[in-house]
Amino acid sequence: MLLALDFALILEKLVLILIVVMASLGIAMYTTFAERKVAAILQDRRGPNRAGPFGLLQPLADGLKLFFKEEIIPNLSNKFLFILGPSLAMMTAMMTSAVIPWGDKVHLFGRDIALQIANIDVGILFVFGVVSMGVYGIMIGSWASNNKYSLMGGLRAASQIISYELAMGISLIALIMVTGNLGLKEMVVQQQNGWWNIAKQPLGFLIFLVCSFAECNRTPFDLPEAENELIGGYHTEYSSMKLGFYLFAEYINMFVSSVIMATLFFGGYDCPFVDESAISQGWAAILGVSVLMAKVVAFLFFFMWVRWTIPRFRYDQLMRLGWKILIPLALFNMLVTGAVILYFNK
């Protein structure tokens, strides 16, 4: 009895994993397309519009191109690590999506299926653990390339992640102090019943936003791959699909951090002004997923909008912003939050 139930559960989770992986790959593909389109529109250009209607097949063409490119492994590189780098980057990028609640339960085949792969109690800590592991992919790849530009890119990535992870973590502590738990699902439920966390933690959100730009290596913090000084940064020596993996991982990271920001600060799959318990479960799930996706798309657009507006920071500016501004600000935010909580709980 127990075994049979477990088998169904495993099947359910496997299907869910497959859907989530496929969806994030597809979304990452079309984010690259959207990036080019948004860039074009912001610069008064038209963007890719030749492959398929409105250029919609462009990501497929790009992917095909990457697959057919010659695979070059530099002679003096460490082959094992050279291949491990992009794989690790891709893997860690995909792993974060495991704990994200995509929507409420659905009732299918006589079972209640939660739209979340794993609802673990320390969801948010898991996310941070995995995200900071993502830099290993970059570091290993850049080290194995045996190229000074790559190595510099890798070093930059590492120091950047260290600097910004701190501020991000502290801003998150303030958020956790407000919500009182670490599970992502519980946070969403809380926001469904009350205010969204952005109202309680505006400064925390700002810090988190800036830090997630840095964590995703996005402009204005894309120093690890600063083209005009480091050629391609950590992926200088990469070609073919290994390069594709790195680029893809960046877009998946962007997608995941959009989801995380939407979940933590903007109510996740909660649709404002709609009482989810009043409508049937299936519809609520569909509504939830689409609302979450709408929020994610808004965040992705924001990522791109910023990229095509702000020039890259200089390296010393980046470090100063991280250590001298964001960390003190995050600490201040944490202290104020703590004081306010203490005052009201008395």
Binding site: L42, D44, R45, R46, V306, W308, T309, I310
Partner: protein, 182 residues
Amino acid sequence: MQALTNKAQQVDRRPMNLLERMYLPTIIKGMAITFSHIFKKKPTINYPEKTRPFSPVFRGLHILNRDEEGRENCTACGLCAVACPAEAITMEAAERKDGEENLYKEEKYAAKYEINMLRCIFCGLCEEACPKDAIYLSETFAPADYQRKQFIYKKEEMLIPHPINEPEAYAKARGNKVVTSQ
């Protein structure tokens, strides 16, 4: 130092004040500017579907002219080849035989006439040099190709269609060209 134009502006080198060091106000201003560009008209022309209209004085591909009766104007005098700064023109002259008066206007004609479009700089000096109004530059440009030899245009490719036998094609090739009768 005397400024050459009145556009020179003194660069502000004061250290950034607190508001500027916060970056955010300027970032928001910049983002508003980029956002406003979403609604701007795009200057791009979708090329193969739409082409940009050229002005009547545009100097594009060469056309070898015929007169009203459809006879080739060129007399293979070689003045265009001499005038050409890029040395793009080569030709071979031939004598007009009896019975070919309806084909060639003058007693001598160009049996072979080639222009290397990769050399040509479309300066129009050949057109200016020609005493017979036999060559002029049209409002089209050489299409891309895979091989260099396709860019050496033969006489047959440049000759304007016959005005009596193919009047529509002739009018089309003529385009907006102002006809100057000599």
